[in-house]
Symmetry: C2
Subunit: 411 residues, 2 copies
């Protein structure tokens, strides 16, 4: 049984006990049995070999922010990264951003925490930092440290990127079970960065669209489909080594590369499409999420199998086939996207879609070929539009209190 | 102890048992004791004398939508209200929007539910409808049914309203503990309304900023303050009769009036203000939320009390004093607002603030005088800007399956 079904809190956040039978949407009446809730309030460790927020079981809420660095002084940037790291180590453990906090400091000073998360638990907050290609220009002496894998993405057919909500020198992904906790963290990092960085763009998301652990159920995107069944998961040790973590002896060893894409969905058009066409486009059954021609969500798709009409169950251009590792030189991604609704678009429609995020060892051989295949052939393109793009080198984890984000990069 | 502290789910949503000691933000380690979770998955009744979503203990997530009616046919509008009511009765009980659902209908037809809430529980979803002044123009023959209390709001000093995100013929407030459930409901109402209504604007919110029940703790706004301590609450029978529910024999009897205001906060400026100034502006202590000069949040403010310096503890223009019923002819409001972050503003700042909503018997004697006093004198105005405004007559509840939203209005 999916624990997510009980809470909308992310399956891994909740350990259910004796709560069978609660999973149907039509439940009325009986209050559920007692439940144990652990990860919801328990903090995620901040220090480690890798950054948290990547293989950490995907929390249900996102606040993603991209900053432009506005100082041109390398020392100020390094000092900011030091201050941010100290704040992140506190915030992720459910503490206030600074030592005196929102209400404990001298009355004549501005508080060193903004206060809206006072009383709220850690909510599994993770803060994950990444460095964009633009940071490696001539401002900070980093040009020769730009990793080859941080190559600019090519232009993909059909994309309509808006520069103002794309790119950025530094990104921070804040994920938590409570949006107020994620927002609080981003807002305090922006506050600390005043005069050194400026918010370029930011994105809120809800309803994680991927699982990153086998303990989590697969959630649904705003097209109503399960769409992350074959995601890389934290239990996949070998696959993570091969496809997720950067290698070599440079500053990125133990890090990974993040691609973000804001994918607007024309949900009004999708909603008028027949069930049969929707299922054919995805290559999955809508209710169970099973590959067409199979029975259950996790049954592997059989791309060769043909139905009674002699045609393949899964169409040659079905999304599940085009995106599958077997169609892309065994390229795997660790997806960690979120649904979004940004109000409406002024044209009578909701402004809604998927904020896609994927971590990988090398976008040149992973995201790029997969997305190129999708951009050229995926019939989903009739219903989606890529409007923002980001690419970031996410360094390895912070080892201890003497370490900080980007230390090896600036060493 | 606040149950909200455990989950960020809204205190009323969660009944905690034996979980003492979890309330601090610095908790690490021990998983909490068993917890009983009821309202999170239990549906809120749809039928009743009053609409749900008003005195219902405030859920933690909001999707608010304002529609323009695009048909000019009265019969089509009435039929839409009928269809919406039937869908709302289903959705609020955790069912799909239509009888065949997202994946159960004929393959050649578009599904009558969009599917992203399949497997999710009701999450205390409420759907609350309201009719704006513009619905009472000459399109639908309703001009002589416009209630006197639905008088256009005056222009308030300092407001900067954006017409495109203000007003609207019909509003729906969707509140739930899971944003995906609230978004799903609004999206399906928009889908059902295709060709008859068009989304004018919509707003997502998180972190309810008011309590509507004494069982709920007072949450914090994005200025870090508790700011709804003296709200009308569902337990206040006499006050609700006097200040909330419309009277008389017309179609609004048992209904109420909703004012919405999107209040942008310049949080970056606020965050550089001293703790003493922040507390003086609100008239409350930041950590406990106590009125200045008192000890605890629910201690009544003593506006006459003076400190050792001979000045009143609570300044003459403190927010708590200006907004208090004693300063406004005993005007009470049932506030039901939410925090929002809409990404960033393109100028290096988060686009964040409060989506204020208040229900009342007559805005002319309740919201208007309170807001006029605040607009003229509140020192908070230095840090906020009203950018959107809405006014809606919310009819009484739907009595049973033979009734529908607005039946008495169109009778």
């Amino acid at each position: 049984m999916s624990r997510r079904k009980l809470f909308g809190l992310g399956a891994a956040g909740v350990a259910a006990a004796g709560a069978g039978g609660l999973a149907t949407r039509s439940l009325v009446g009986e209050p559920p049995a007692a439940l144990a809730v652990d990860h919801v309030s328990t903090p995620v460790p901040f220090y480690g070999e890798h950054q948290a927020g990547i293989v950490t079981p995907a929390q249900d809420r996102l606040h993603f922010v991209a900053f432009d660095v506005v100082t041109d002084k390398r020392a100020e940037l390094v000092e900011l990264l030091r201050e941010w790291t100290a704040a992140a180590a506190r915030l992720t453990q459910g503490r206030e951003a600074g030592a005196s906090g929102a209400a404990g400091g001298p009355p004549e000073a501005a508080p060193d925490d903004t206060g809206e998360a006072l009383d709220l638990p850690a909510s599994a907050l993770t803060l994950t930092v990444g460095f964009g290609p633009s940071l490696f220009d001539d401002r900070f002496g980093l040009a020769d440290r730009r990793p080859a894998a941080l190559a600019d993405l090519p232009k993909f057919p059909g994309e309509h990127l808006v520069p103002e909500i794309s790119g950025g020198d530094i990104c921070v992904q804040a994920c938590a079970h409570d949006p107020q906790v994620a927002v609080h963290a981003v807002r305090n990092l922006a506050r600390i960065g005043f005069g050194r960085v400026s918010v370029r763009w930011s994105q809120l998301g809800f309803g994680r669209t991927s699982s990153t652990s086998r303990a989590q159920s697969t959630p649904r995107n705003l097209m109503g489909f399960k769409d992350g069944t074959n995601n890389l998961k934290l239990e996949d040790d070998r696959l993570l080594r091969e496809h997720l973590w950067a290698r070599g002896g440079d500053w990125m060893a133990g890090g990974t590369y993040l691609v973000t894409r804001k994918i607007r969905m024309t949900i009004e058009t999708w909603d008028r499409t027949s069930l049969a066409e929707q299922e054919a486009i995805f290559g999955r059954d809508k209710r169970a999420g099973a590959p067409l021609g199979r029975k259950a969500e996790f049954d592997p798709p059989d791309f060769a199998a043909k139905g009674p009409d002699g045609k393949p169950y899964i169409a040659p251009d079905a999304h599940i086939r085009l995106a599958h590792p077997s169609s892309n030189g065994d390229a795997h991604l660790l997806r960690r996207g979120y649904n979004y609704v940004d109000g409406s678009d002024g044209l009578g429609r909701l402004d809604a879609g998927l904020f896609f995020m994927a971590y990988q060892r090398d976008p040149r051989t992973q995201f790029v070929p997969v997305q190129m295949a999708l951009a050229k052939r995926d019939p989903l393109n009739e219903y989606i539009k890529h409007v923002s793009s980001g690419l970031f080198a996410c360094p390895p984890g912070v080892r201890d209190a003497g370490d900080h984000w980007g230390r090896a990069l600036f060493a």
